[in-house]
Symmetry: C2
Subunit: 204 residues, 2 copies
Amino acid sequence: MAEAVAARKRKVTKRGATRRQLLEVAGRLFDVKGYTGTSIRDIASAMDTSISNIYHYFGSKEGLWNEIHRNSVRQLPVRLREAVAAETDPVLQLRRLLRVHLELADQFQRESRIFFVNADQVDATRNSRQRQIQREVLDVYLEVLQRLRKQGRVRMRHPQIAAFNILGLLNWMLRWYRPEGKLSAAEVHREIISFALRGIGIPD
Amino acid sequence: MAEAVAARKRKVTKRGATRRQLLEVAGRLFDVKGYTGTSIRDIASAMDTSISNIYHYFGSKEGLWNEIHRNSVRQLPVRLREAVAAETDPVLQLRRLLRVHLELADQFQRESRIFFVNADQVDATRNSRQRQIQREVLDVYLEVLQRLRKQGRVRMRHPQIAAFNILGLLNWMLRWYRPEGKLSAAEVHREIISFALRGIGIPD
């Protein structure tokens, strides 16, 4: 009895490990070759497994994509809203928002690149889900920026453009920043936050 | 004789028109579906022509890609260097650089998106040519920013990060700006230029 339980546990653990490995390999390929450029065959051969094994775990390439999405960027809007809710002064809200966003971008660097930066726009459903999250992220920034403008503490004419500019800084970093480079993540984040705040007229 | 010349001219003109139309259609598809996601067959069917006709004009999908590249973003580094050379004061150099860059981004909005923003990274040669141009563009900014720092007129610690931030603003605009929207291109450009200058500590 105890042995049967142990055997089932080993099986579940092994299943979990294979799943995680498949997600990892698929994520790497989607990042480098794009969703369209990556076939189930590519993923299978990179993992030295069969195509049917991947279908067994995820149903389809779309299933893999959804799972990576769910484990990463789908959490972003909620985490950003929490960051804002933790402060009352809008300057502090924006600072915390930027810090948390940059930390999450680090944590999900590859996934953010897949879903926000390199996303090939081939499938309308997939694309609309990505846009939905980007829209939610944009809204978090817009609300804080509008609050700042109402208080007369910023110099921008159009909060919308400022919000896009800030997202441009953050998302572009996903392209150029290499953790193995000369500058630490903390240093890069500090510079980007200063640039963003000064950009809208808040001196640091 | 005159008739033969006229007939040849008509043929040449028609050839030119077909070429331009193929470039236009391919550019649109590369923009929406990515290079990998677009097949020669897609282009042929969008133009209601044969695949062999496309091979006749461009040799390959790669040939089409190269031609679009040559007609657009390949000119960017040269035009940006000219903008810098037209001024002596580095603040004015940066202002003109930003203005010219935004104008070119407008002119080549789709192509810039194809080559800089949505580029799928599937082919090493193609990717390295794109990176080369991005590197040259980055260098133009870096030189001006280093000059500004030498004169003690800016507040950034790392010109490299500032240059990436500025390119982030400009390239991100290719994603979100819609000419048919509420804001005019001139208004958007003005805001982005102010944001960039303030971002590095130059008041506007």
